[in-house]
């Protein structure tokens, strides 16, 4: 049964190979790029499905394949890949969603002259993500993570002739790099503590029991356990990659790339990598000195409903026990082990909840269709981190998976709208599109309802409900739950607003253009071709069908991710029903408010102010300018960086440059002296010598007349002389 594990490396290797081939293909050859990339991903999808089947057949087991990359001295650097339900699920999701995005791109990018280059980058990007997902070593994960950063830079700046796209690419690259420094430091620290970067290695990996106890026991000077410090540093990397506060600002700007890229970055790959990382190292962030790393689920009373969450085993351990243990080892643990959730989980929950709230509020006041979705992504990622922190990997990853489908759907839908409206992105210039683009409208509505959590039918409802439920049952603070709840209301609200602007009301595009005196030939918005609507349909179907794996009645995903065989539960506890009721109420509130504001009084012209703008102008201005966070960074870090740059410039010009010029002048003076000496003293003697040599050479060359027979005669004469000498002797 090790068959699938042995060929697992093919999944990322195939797109990588395709990308290498395409990078060598001349730009004018356009035919092969799309079929090749999609074929590689399709093959990867099949392998991933086989891998999933194998992983699910025994969900508790972690299968890893490790090998030595290189050695220096006595220590060897090992890398490898891992097959467990988490990686298998991610592999299936990434290959599937990315595959449909690739199909969509055929239509969307058909007019672009760099079609082949686009697919080359897309393949590279997907390959890196697949590498992240299946790697069993933090080092390999980090390498793929960085490749992904590079590919995202290339893709966001794909239209690099636009200054804004180039700036956005640079911004994304730099902001994620800030987080990556944390990742790198955490990785080094981990290596220093445990001597390995392998995650699973038959008991010797850094996520397994021995290393975890060691890490949780090792305290640094401030009293924080090493595991906490490492997990927090790794979380920095996740913050950068997944666009959490305070590093979220790159993500909305990344909308400058082509829309399929936005779908890929915001749904299946890049931002998911951060959440995935935290899910992967979840044992590390829950490890405390007081809790044994492997404890069978001792679910507290208020979480019985979802007792299939052994992932919460450590932070949900009864308080009294934690106190007792902490008292037994007072020197080993600081403040974090006396309360139930570890410091890491606390930070994660707070960052996640704050991000979810702020981003969803900012999304309310945006006018760019893709920017709204971008802030929505930031907000949903916040939800995922909240779920990870409060409910364990299963909760966060379930939302990650459902979000991947419906957000890819929404982005592709937005791409279809933009394509149909001739590159118009401002929702104030749209309107009434439901009649002209029925397929896009239908699928977009599905994605919108999944995102905002319409009950029972859509996958987004179940995953978000689970997050809210586990946040409610969390043993830490209740505030993250409250923040998340408000964010859920805001989500439903801004999605209703977007639907109202884009698909309902009168079409506002072209009359406004006429007013401004544009001479653009008027063409009506049109439905996109089949190759673009088909992926929308498939993803919409998945957004609904994915419901079945995560309902409280049959928590298949949950069980599988926490290493149990799936089971069917007949009764549903009051706690779950209560949480469902709350989240239904939240979504309902959002919808109703959106309906009142936008559907009843539809905007009729481009310059009609937003209803909220007229009512609460000050808050609106703050939200519309995205909380002035960009400006804040510009005022704080930007100014200092610029000042440091100017200081370095001054240092360079005056101090260093002066020194260099002095040395230069000294060297010049020496060279002049040398030249004088050469010309007047050396040259005389040297020239005489040269002349002598030339003369003697002239005389010597008289013998050489070039005739072969002269040489032979000399040879024969010499031979005769030698012969005579031999005879005479």
């Amino acid at each position: 049964m090790t068959g699938v594990l042995d060929i697992l490396w093919l999944i990322p290797a195939l797109p990588l190979l395709v990308s290498a081939i395409l990078s060598l293909t001349p730009a004018r050859v356009k035919g092969g790029a799309a079929p090749l990339s999609i074929g590689a991903l399709g093959l990867g999808f099949l392998i991933a499905c086989a891998a999933l089947a194998e992983a699910v057949s025994d969900p508790g087991q972690v299968r890893a394949h490790n090998f030595t990359w290189f050695e220096f001295g006595s220590s060897a650097v090992k890398i490898g890949w891992v097959l467990d339900p988490l990686s298998a699920l991610m592999l299936v999701m990434v290959t599937f969603v990315a595959g449909w995005i690739f199909v969509f791109s055929i239509g969307y990018m058909s007019h672009d002259e760099n079609f082949t280059r686009f697919y080359c980058f897309l393949s590279l990007f997907t390959s890196a993500m697949l590498g992240v997902v299946m790697s069993n070593s933090l080092l390999m994960l980090f390498a793929c993570w960085e490749v992904m950063g590079l590919a995202s830079y290339l893709l966001i700046g794909f239209w690099h002739h636009r200054p804004s796209a180039a700036a956005a690419a640079r911004k994304a690259f730099i902001y994620t790099r800030i987080g990556d420094i944390g990742f790198l430091l955490g990785m080094l620290w981990l290596y220093a503590e445990t001597g390995t970067l392998l995650l699973y290695d038959n008991g010797a990996g850094c996520l397994e029991a021995n290393a975890l106890t060691q890490l949780a026991g090792a305290a640094i000077s401030t009293g924080m356990a090493a595991s906490t410090g490492i997990a927090l540093l790794l979380f920095c990397g996740a913050i950068g990659k997944s666009g959490q506060i305070p590093l979220h600002v790159w993500l909305p700007d990344a909308m400058e790339g082509p829309t399929p890229v936005s779908a890929l970055i915001h749904a299946a790959t890049m931002v998911a990598a951060g959440v995935f990382l935290m899910a992967r190292i979840h044992p590390l962030s829950t490890a405390t000195a007081s809790a044994k790393p492997i404890v069978t689920a001792t679910a507290p009373a208020n979480a019985t409903a979802q007792s299939a969450q052994p992932a919460v085993r450590m932070e949900a351990a009864p308080k009294s026990q934690a106190h007792a243990e902490a008292a037994a080892k007072p020197t080993e643990a600081g403040g974090d082990s006396t309360s139930s959730p570890t410091l890491t989980l606390n930070v994660m929950a707070w960052v996640g909840a704050l991000t979810a709230l702020l981003a969803s509020l900012v999304a309310v006041a945006q006018y760019d269709i893709k920017r709204i979705l971008a802030y929505s992504t930031v907000s949903q990622l916040g939800f995922m981190f909240l779920g990870l922190a409060t409910g364990g990997p299963a909760v966060g990853v379930f939302h990650l998976l459902t979000h991947a489908f419906f957000k890819a759907l929404l982005f592709l839908g937005a791409g279809s709208v933009i394509h149909g409206c001739h590159e118009e992105q401002d929702i104030r210039r749209m309107g009434g599109l439901w009649r002209r683009m029925p397929a896009t409208f239908g699928t977009y509505a599905v994605g919108m309802m999944a995102l905002s959590g319409v009950p029972l039918l859509f996958s987004g409802f179940w995953s978000k409900d689970e997050i809210l439920h586990s946040a409610l049952a969390w043993s830490g603070s209740k505030w993250p739950f409250a923040l998340g709840l408000v964010a859920a209301v805001a989500t439903a609200f801004y999605m209703t607003r977007q639907m109202a602007y884009v698909f309902f009301g009168p079409h506002r595009g072209h009359p406004a253009m006429y007013e401004q005196g544009h001479r653009i030939p008027v063409t009506q918005p049109h439905e996109s071709p089949m190759v673009m609507t088909l992926p929308l349909g498939v993803l919409a179907a998945c957004a609904i069908l994915l419901t079945v794996v995560g309902t409280p009645m049959w928590p298949w995903l949950h069980s599988v991710l926490s290493g149990h065989a799936p089971e069917v539960r007949r009764e549903v506890s009051v706690g779950v029903l209560f949480a469902m009721l709350i989240s239904i109420l939240a979504a309902g509130t959002g919808f109703t408010a959106g309906w009142i504001c936008y559907m009843r009084r539809r905007a009729s012209g481009f310059n009609d102010g937003d209803p909220l703008q007229t009512r609460i102008p000050s808050i609106w201005r703050c939200l519309e300018s995205r909380g002035w966070i960009d400006e804040l960074y510009k005022m704080s870090f930007g100014i200092w960086t610029a000042a440091a740059g100017r200081f370095c410039d001054w240092l360079d010009r005056i101090v260093l440059g002066g020194g260099v010029r002095m040395i230069q002048n000294a060297a010049l003076a020496t060279a002049w002296m040398g030249r004088l000496w050469d010309e007047f003293f050396l040259n005389g003697g040297f020239a005489r010598g040269c002349e002598q040599t030339r003369n003697s050479a002239d005389r010597a060359s008289l013998v050489q007349n070039g005739q072969i027979q002269r040489y032979l005669r000399i040879l024969a004469g010499a031979l005769a002389l030698v012969a005579l000498w031999i005879i005479w002797k």
């Binding site: 010597a700 060359s701 013998v703 050489q704 007349n705 070039g706 005739q707 072969i708 027979q709 032979l712 005669r713 024969a716």
Partner: protein, 100 residues
């Protein structure tokens, strides 16, 4: 024995004289062939009158030598042809581009 050696010396000297004196490249080549054959005669002669006349080593040496001479002649003629094509002449005294 002495007769063979005398014949060989004569042949060698004739060949050497031809190589040294003739102006025509092909004639010089023929001289070289004569010198080679003089050497071959020496091979056979020393082999026949040595103590190891039973094995065929001398004969084989000679056959090798003839084969190599044939190859060398082929190369030499090819060179001559090329030189002729290049310079429209095969007179050795006109080939003096090696002059210092």
């Amino acid at each position: 024995m002495t007769f063979y050696l005398a014949l060989s010396v004569l042949l060698f000297c004739v060949g050497l004289a031809g190589v040294l004196a003739r102006r025509h490249a092909i004639m010089a080549l023929i001289g070289i062939e004569l010198m080679l054959n003089a050497a071959n005669i020496n091979f056979i002669a020393f082999w026949r009158h040595s103590s190891a006349a039973d094995d065929l080593s001398g004969m084989f040496w000679m056959i090798f030598s003839v084969a190599i001479a044939a190859a060398e002649a082929a190369v030499g003629l090819a060179l001559v042809i090329l030189v002729f094509r290049h310079r429209r002449s095969v007179r050795l005294d006109e080939l003096e581009s090696l002059k210092g």
